[in-house]
Amino acid sequence: MSITIRVPIGPALAIRLMRAGYPWPIMTKAETDNSIPLLEARGLAYTRNDEPIFGPLDFSLRAGEVVLVEGDNGSGKTTLLKVLSGLLDPSMGSIRLNGEALTLARLSHQVALLGHLPGLKSDLSPLENLDFAIGVFGLRGGITTRLALSSVGLEGYEDVPTRMLSAGQKKRVGLARLLLVPAALWLLDEPYANLDREGIDLVNRLLDAQARRGGAALVTSHGAYAFTSGTPRRLPLRPPA
């Protein structure tokens, strides 16, 4: 019999308990209390060498939501994702993850970023690349690397060096990584680029599944691809005047 603890606790404490081998499933504040958004940005802006890149932006992202960030080339979409993932510090404003300041993101296994660069070693096979990602980021329950690779349509490519794969197939390996790591928030930078029609469907299916299990995703697009399933919330991004 499994007991679920419904005492709302912060994500930092929840992770400490899980690391200590705490045997019961733990509900964090975000899962129990839907009034706290997974991600919340207030007055968020980024300036590089006195040149404003984006913002100020106000938005929040709740569990189960997929938000499409739309903007032209150079409107700061990639920079926004880097700021939200904690790679860059915002010039102004604040980001809160599960109601706590973002500095926790680096420590709390909450965020997975799929950037422009695939983040794969070309001399290693997809399987070896994913094993490394699991080692560094952890593993979501109920899935294996082989299962993840077959669910992104890469069955039979497990042991091929990644440099032999096409750009679209590399993107799929990146998507398999998202399936494996236990992140509640996905930050996807142009996930539709390089993918065929079937691949675009795959991204939409993965986003659906992520939203259904209580995660959230922020997806950038320059608007060339239609988002087929459902109607995602849109976050228009314009270069600051």
Partner: protein, 227 residues
Amino acid sequence: MRYGTTGSACRALIRRDLLLTWRRRGDALNPTLFALIVVVMFPLALGPEPNQLARIAAGIVFVAILLAGLLALDGLFRGDQEDGTLEQIVLSPHPLPLLLASKIFVHWLTTALPLILVAPLLAEMLFLPPQVLPVLITSLALATPLLSLLGAVCVALTVGMRRSGMLLALLVLPLYVPVLIFAAGACDAAQAGLPYLAPLLWLGAALVLSMVLAPLACAAALRISIS
């Protein structure tokens, strides 16, 4: 749901870097080959006079190994930066200094350890007196990790730039000079029959200090250069 420990993250990084080195094992031998070529040139240029060569042998071996290390240094983060895995490593929930320390350790293991292993051969080619060889190996064992750690901080600072080779050399050489002076000084003292323990202890102290501080500085530098 399994989050993994910091230990398992470091192990995954070490395993991956060793595997990558093994896949490109031809490239991994380049620094050793370079040191060998440099040392072979000296007897050809100075003449095969054993006494003359023996006097400068330790210095030549150190300079050759230092330059070979400098050659390999640029690749420490370059590959990871180009394919985006460096971003993933920085985003990892585990302490970045520890992950970088594992990376520097693998770099030392794959570039500097082969150099220490060929050092007896290099010393033999330059007629280094046999009683100096243990001192040479000990000072190399202390100096090469120190060079890797100091170098890693400078590489982390220049990783965001294109064609950073010359800048890297300029940053690194002032830090390498004291290491070279102490290491070669120990061998000189041993060759002259003087006590050689003090410079070796200085090297050891510097190594301990940089083992603690260099990964932290490296992490801070890396965060700056990828932003």
